[in-house]
């Protein structure tokens, strides 16, 4: 049988960075082929090569037996290759229908009827559908993700590349997506799935290639690997070295722990926070929450139930319609971001590209931007002190980069996230940490590091609020978990309770509301 895609000895560098070197890979038609690897291993680069987004430096590619060398995405599409990007590719100012119409190529008269037929077919085969008349920039990420996949499927591709498609989805959406992947493969096409989540790999994948530092660390049918083997190939150390709570997240079975006893007075107090959306509906509908020093509280829930809005209000990006937010003595309801930082509130934002960092600036600058005045000597900035401090953080947090002056944009997604986490944890004093999707897009080794740091921050006395779509992670990390449902917080559920998972599941669909 002719393989769908074959890469032989390919290489690609960006300036001094060797993103891929000597990578070979074979994907068969009718299978879901998983590409795994730690952050910066070169997974996105690999996908972009196949999709024509970056140009090949060395090596050969064949597609269904024929030599293949796309120089732009259009070539790839013409050859029957479609890709869902790690960062989206819908035009935000056009409606979803218009975006989908464009995917069929620019014609004078858009073929609306064909589009509707195509959508009906896709809904029938894969059970996917999206609202057509909303602006792409205005719908929740989950919907956008579906629109992306539909956009690809409309082209009826022979090979579908999915770069971390599950990173931004809630558990239900993840299930749907993995099911879709299987169906696409069963329809005889080839699927390349990039993911960090081993649970997904075992559920949806047929075979896998594991990358490490731009080279292939292992490859073959998944049946031949155990979870331990995969983790070891990815991060280069045995799974037993990792935090047990991570192992929990890999196995998706909660380990029961002692219920921690927190007795201190709460420092974090949110009372009756409300926020309305542009269309008048309530994104936050009276949020009440108290967190004591040393306590870790998790917010679970299906995407779009007010979690993102809660973070924007807490971070000061948007003032609440009513209610108050206090941190110890400080009323931060309407404080500026700077005021919040001064009061000891650290925030790890959900969208690290737009909010969390300045991609065009160096790691050192990104790490210390809010505290530059500490490096001022007689009015001037002491750059060597800045770089020394940054080098220490890079070392300490295991950030993979060429040095403190490396531009943030040249880091892989996971390493960017590590920089953000490092900066927020470095607040002194850290009274409270709000972490939104802190492990999104991180490899398992990095997740281990980040969760460990959040826990030690709590042990050092910070009140921690974690918003995450990874229920297993929350169960393993938090003392109690609340569930966001239509702008309110339901619960709490003690994480250590034996039926916590079921209880949370019920709350997520509003059962106890």
């Amino acid at each position: 049988m002719i393989p769908a895609l074959e890469l032989h000895d390919v290489a690609k560098s960006f300036g001094p960075v060797r993103a891929l070197s000597g990578v070979s890979l074979t994907v068969q038609a009718g299978e879901v082929h998983c590409v795994l690897g730690e952050n910066g291993a070169g997974k996105s680069t690999l996908c972009n090569l196949v999709n024509g987004g970056v140009s090949l430096e060395r090596g050969t590619m064949t597609l269904y037996g024929e030599p293949y060398r796309p120089s732009r995405p259009t070539d790839a599409l013409a050859a029957g290759v479609a890709m869902v990007h790690q960062h989206f590719s819908l035009v935000p100012t056009l409606t979803i229908a218009e975006n989908l119409l464009l995917a069929a190529g620019a014609r004078l008269r858009p073929r609306r009827r064909e589009l509707h037929e195509g959508l009906a077919r896709i809904e029938e085969t894969y059970g996917l559908s999206v609202p057509l008349d909303e602006l792409a920039g205005h719908v929740p990420v989950g919907v956008r993700q579906q629109a992306e996949i539909i956009k690809c499927l409309l082209r009826d591709p022979r090979l579908l590349l999915l770069d971390e498609p599950t990173a931004v989805l809630g558990p239900a959406d993840v299930d749907a997506l993995l099911a879709t992947c299987r169906r696409i493969a069963e329809a005889g096409k080839a699927v390349v799935l990039v993911t960090h989540k081993l649970g997904e790999v075992t559920r949806a994948g047929d075979s896998a290639t594991i990358l490490r530092g731009g080279t292939v660390a292992g490859a073959g049918p998944l049946a031949g690997f155990g979870a331990e083997d995969l983790v070891e190939l990815m991060v280069g150390r045995p799974m037993s070295d990792l935090d047990p709570l991570l192992v929990a997240s890999v196995d998706e079975s909660a380990t029961s722990r002692e219920a921690a006893r927190i007795t201190a007075e709460p420092v974090f107090r949110a009372q009756g926070l409300t926020l309305s959306r542009a269309d008048g509906t309530l994104a936050l509908d009276g949020v009440n929450l108290e967190i004591a020093p040393g306590e870790i509280v998790g917010v679970a829930g299906v995407e779009g139930n007010g979690q993102s809005e809660l973070v924007t209000v807490l971070s000061g990006a948007v003032p609440p319609g009513s209610g108050s937010f206090l941190l110890g003595e400080h009323d931060l309801t309407f404080a500026t971001p700077r005021g919040r930082t001064a009061a000891g509130l650290g925030i790890i934002p959900e969208d690290r590209h737009h909010e969390g960092c300045v991609p065009a600036m160096s790691i050192a600058e990104n790490l210390f931007l809010p505290r530059l005045s500490e490096f001022a000597r007689r009015g001037l900035l002491d750059r060597s002190a800045l770089h020394e401090a940054a080098a220490r953080v890079i070392e300490e947090h295991g950030i993979r980069a060429t040095g403190p002056s490396a531009r943030m944009s040249t880091l892989s997604g996971g390493n960017q996230q590590k920089v953000v986490v490092a900066r927020e944890l470095a607040l002194d004093p850290l009274v409270c940490l709000v972490a939104a999707q802190p492990t999104r897009g991180l490899d398992i080794g990095a997740v281990d590091a980040v969760l460990g740091r959040i826990r030690s921050a709590a042990q050092a006395g910070a009140a921690v609020l974690v918003i995450s779509s990874e229920l297993s992670e929350l169960l393993a990390l938090c003392h109690r978990i609340v569930v966001a449902y239509r702008g309110r917080l339901l619960g709490p559920v003690p994480a250590a309770a034996p039926q916590a998972r079921d209880e949370i599941g019920r709350l997520m669909v509003g059962a106890a509301a």
Partner: protein, 342 residues
């Protein structure tokens, strides 16, 4: 990187010179003669160099301001309008001060007023940017034309700045500035260079230090690259944007003040001479480097002197000089990609 820049700009200049030689040939002058005339015009006399310095000072001030705003991600296309505002304000101050006001008082006052007026003119765009999100490229572009028309208005209306109309022959221009408000010469033998050059140099160095060596500079850079991230990280984004664009306007306004405080010391209709647009081009070509601002401003100043001598000594028409200058700009702008890719 630096040698690379040198090669790129040198290549662009060479290409422009080649085009110039062809034009000179077409106009009947020998390229060699034209070259000699250009060289002589640029470096041939203390006078020419002094004039170039004056031009470079005005362009440099505008481009320095441009660079400050650009660092915060704002493109100040409004140099011409801000220059006009500064010139108008300087003229108002310079003609209404008592005649005996000493230079030490009058000159700083006039320049400050010009700075404030240029800043205020830019602040309109800055305010619209921070409060309503209106693109400053557009508002500052529009304000140019309004500023130019304002000059027309004040020099034509007697109630405003027009000199007292004693006969039907009175020219539509302001009265001359008082002695004390005029820019002193640098005092170089046979050179018309004023201290405007020193002012521009100080401004460029101060801004270079501000942008490269201070926390504020780094904050401006952060705002320039990502407004959302900078806001999230607690930087006073709106304040930084507002003041960076406003100071860009201030520096352009000061250039306007300097133009009015140089011979013939009056405000007249077309006093701005397109310097606002030229300064913008200098700023854009310099791409954020203050050293490049100084270099390109000097180059433009020298080219103006050289172009004049090309007409005088080689009989090359003004339009050919204009063609060569615009080609040079286009080549430099187009060659930037060579620096980017390498």
């Amino acid at each position: 990187m630096r040698t690379n820049a040198f090669v790129v700009y040198g290549g662009a200049a060479l290409a422009a010179l080649l085009a110039g030689a062809l034009l000179a040939l077409g106009g009947g002058a020998s390229p060699l003669q034209a070259g000699a005339a250009l060289w002589e015009g640029m470096f041939g006399s203390a006078y020419a160099i002094g004039s170039s310095l004056n031009t470079a000072a005005a362009l440099g001030l505008i481009a320095t301001g441009f660079t400050v705003a650009h660092r915060a991600g704002l493109v100040n296309v409004g140099g011409e309008g801000q220059l006009c505002a500064g010139g108008i304000a300087a003229a108002f101050a310079g003609v209404s001060l008592p005649d005996a006001t000493p230079t030490l008082v009058a000159l700083p006052l006039v320049l400050l007023v010009a700075f404030a007026a240029g800043g205020a003119w830019a602040a309109i765009a800055a305010w619209l940017k921070v409060s309503r999100g209106t693109s400053e490229v557009i508002t500052t572009l529009l304000l140019n034309f309004v500023g130019l028309a304002m000059v027309l208005l004040v020099v034509h209306e007697e109630g405003l700045l027009r000199q007292p109309v004693t006969s039907s022959q009175t020219l539509p221009q302001s009265e001359p500035l008082i002695e004390g408000a005029r820019l002193p010469l640098l005092g170089l033998e046979g050179s018309p260079a004023t201290i405007a050059f020193l002012i521009a140099a100080v401004a460029a160095v101060a801004v270079a230090v501000l942008l490269r060596r201070t926390a504020t500079g780094t904050r401006l850079t952060a705002v320039g690259h990502s407004v959302t991230a900078a806001a999230r990280l607690g930087l006073p984004v709106r304040r930084l944007q507002f003041w960076s664009l406003t100071s860009a306007g201030g520096l352009a306004g000061m250039a306007g003040g300097a133009l009015v405080a140089t011979t013939p010391f009056v405000l007249a209709e077309s006093f701005s001479s397109g310097y606002g647009f030229a300064g913008l081009v200098v700023g854009l070509l310099a791409r954020g480097s203050l050293a490049a601002v100084a270099g390109v401003a000097l180059l433009f100043g020298l080219l103006a002197s050289g172009g004049m001598n090309l007409q005088l000594a080689a009989g090359v028409p003004a339009s050919s000089v204009q063609i060569v200058q615009s080609l040079l700009t286009i080549f430099i702008a187009g060659a930037v990609i060579l620096r980017r890719t390498s």
